[in-house]
Symmetry: C2
Subunit: 309 residues, 2 copies
Amino acid sequence: MAFSFRQVRYFIAVADAAKISSAAADLNVSQSAVTAAIKALEDELEARLFERHPSGVTLTYEGHQFLQHARSIEATVSEATRALRRTGSAETGEVRVGLTYTVAAYFLPQILARFTRAFPGITVHMQELAREDIESGLMNGNLDIAVMLVSNLQNSLSIDSEILVRSRRRLWACADHHLVARETVSLAEIAAEPYVMLTVDEADDTAMRYWRKTPHLPKVIFETSSVEAVRSMVATGMGVSILSDMVYRPWSLEGQRIEVRPVSDEVPSMDVGLGWRRDSNLSAPARVFYEYLSLTYGGSGHGFVNAKP
Amino acid sequence: MAFSFRQVRYFIAVADAAKISSAAADLNVSQSAVTAAIKALEDELEARLFERHPSGVTLTYEGHQFLQHARSIEATVSEATRALRRTGSAETGEVRVGLTYTVAAYFLPQILARFTRAFPGITVHMQELAREDIESGLMNGNLDIAVMLVSNLQNSLSIDSEILVRSRRRLWACADHHLVARETVSLAEIAAEPYVMLTVDEADDTAMRYWRKTPHLPKVIFETSSVEAVRSMVATGMGVSILSDMVYRPWSLEGQRIEVRPVSDEVPSMDVGLGWRRDSNLSAPARVFYEYLSLTYGGSGHGFVNAKP
DNA sequence: AAAATGCCATCAATTTTTCCGATATCGTGT
DNA sequence: ACACGATATCGGAAAAATTGATGGCATTTT
């Protein structure tokens, strides 16, 4: 795998012209350059592509085979440039986006900067809403699209979704916590510790769903809708929690370090994704927004967003 | 279209590594080479593909777009090399081919030399036969495949065909013939001239088919099954004829020149193609033969085989 | 027959591209 | 403030591509 586009271009030109010399004229290069390029290509492929005659050249069987691929390469390449030229930065319009709390706080801000740079003509109206308000907003047309925790979607019959990133949920504990010494920690062990429960975005419902699969229950000493509150309490050693990597930062507000450890029991990941009304024709700007996020996140491998270790 | 495959490789490596420096390490080149290549690619595409951060680089929207194309380019290229490696020259076996006269004389010989070189393990048994014998041979299994004038096929219900080359039929006349002065010539004008009728491969039947669409009839002064005979008679000015470019040669046996002129009325082209029994599973060597011809001729554009002027 | 033509292969010199290694720069974390 | 890890930049070195001229070969023209 080492030949160049230049060689492919020359090859196609020669195949079309059936003469190296006139192909060279078409390409505005010298005949010897084309001869050399074809020869290098043949060496590279270890195949004779042309038969040389006194009146020109003709494709061999292998040459015909390669010609088809060559044309396909040419088409792919020109498509690649063509597609970029019409980059949608000329798109204009508005898109109304509903966000759930976590997404608004931890996921979208970085992306939005890039989006607005790529599509300066598109105004993004963002609204942080509870899940049920987002769902009804999508249904009654007040929202074009939503970025939310799709695993929490209730009305999945009428609302389509696509996962953008999965974020692992892991145990948070302060740096000198005895559980931090362990490689992994089980829910049973966590059940013995004081637990700080986050309540935004139905995190408590989600948590109870996996706790209920065990004989244990977390010793909830505090419930809060503030991630920063959880962070502070964990950092000071008042308790532990299980939260997604997406909201993880190693340092709490007060500067104390928080460590994370994987949970050995099955804990579902937090899935951030796009939601939209199933039968809606997305508006052009909404479609651009959708494709931007889908490409930017979905494209890069459906992997996990990882916090440090 | 001017970026290079090298740039695409580097781009993919950087996109995967998310760091120019580690991508450079993967590629066994220096970091500055990769930086330069990416920059050149961005200049070429007139688009920013990466955002540079102190911790590495991330794809922009355009970068994500281009990454998809880049992967497709990479796949296309590697497919192109991979396909060539497994060139079927290891195929062995026999294939029984029926040929009609014109094909045997004017079409196949050049190709066969190449075919036997590309597939030395395949023995080609060729038999020149009349059309009806070919058709029955295909049906009763005495022939695997045929190269013939497919426009003459009778049993087209049971025999499939594929056109390889279309060869235009034009007026042949000696160099000093008065019709040669014209750009194009009508059948009405030709009807006034003495005509030499070729009878091989049902050429006479075909000829009568288009003559009958006019109020005229050719003044047939001579019928022959030899193309060389027609050529000689035309060259010496004894008559004119309408024959396909495939059998055209500018010089007759005696060294006199023959000119061709397009006919303004509609005259069907001579279609040489492959024929095989519709419900037959072609043997492996027959399939190779089929694909070789199909690729060698069908591939190059279904165009006309042109005689010089 | 001989000369001319049109074609591709080859070669050395030159130009262009690519690469390297060192250095500059920038932002973050310590 | 400082070190660290990342990208950007620069001049010189190396490699690749290109050129223009030359030669061989087969066909066409004289």
